[in-house]
Symmetry: C2
């Protein structure tokens, strides 16, 4: 259950390079244990890394992602911290809702283009590849 990973394990696993992982650490996004000088990654580290990559896919900068990660690890015993957390989380939610909207709009447009193109081809008797 407490599986550990080496840096190359993780890299291969998530399809990135060790260099990238070290870079994230340099930027303060990760802080794996060390055995001597060698980095050793836990489940939580792995999960964090996955969140990082997700953030990147959504187009966020590493700096943004760093703040984002903090949302997942907060001392919930401190009322004030939770307060702050809530507003930060709501900010992110706002951003993502906007992005969701943008994506959906774009999808609609592209599907329109697809439909129009396909019907254009059918009309010309061209056999249309399936969806």
């Amino acid at each position: 259950m407490d599986t550990l990973y080496s840096i190359t394990d993780l890299a291969r696993d998530l399809d990135i390079t060790p260099r990238t992982i070290r870079h994230y650490e340099d930027q303060g996004l990760l802080a794996p244990q060390r055995v001597g000088t060698t980095r050793v990654y836990s489940h939580r580290d792995r999960a964090r890394l996955i969140l990082i990559l997700r953030g990147k896919r959504l187009g966020f900068s590493l700096k943004d992602i760093k703040e984002y990660l903090d949302l997942y690890v907060v001392d919930t015993s401190q009322v004030e911290q939770v307060r702050v957390l809530v507003t930060k989380v709501r900010d992110r939610i706002g951003q993502l809702e906007e992005q969701l909207d943008t994506v959906q709009t774009t999808l609609k447009e592209l599907r329109d283009i697809e439909r129009m193109s396909v019907s254009m081809l059918e009309q010309k008797g061209v056999d249309v590849p399936m969806a």
Copy 2:
């Protein structure tokens, strides 16, 4: 109806700098008319620019966006071109569907965090700011 824009008009309007607009032109994403050396933008140019900015918000590179723009301007009289178009459009659709998914997942997680935090605060008798 055939309104024209200067580069600063457009920049102010879309909240970017003229420099950025010129940069997009350098990268082949725009090709406005010229009056002498001065750039003059049409509605279509403006629309393109908006698409560019949308692509950026979604985290695409300028190179990606360039290809993406071509999807909106194709010679529909050439069957082969339309064929190619359809497959490209479908590719993009696939990408965006994935992104849609990612965004939704992330949103769910954040909403969970929000709910949990809020109920935690309420339980402690703290007055919780509204959504």
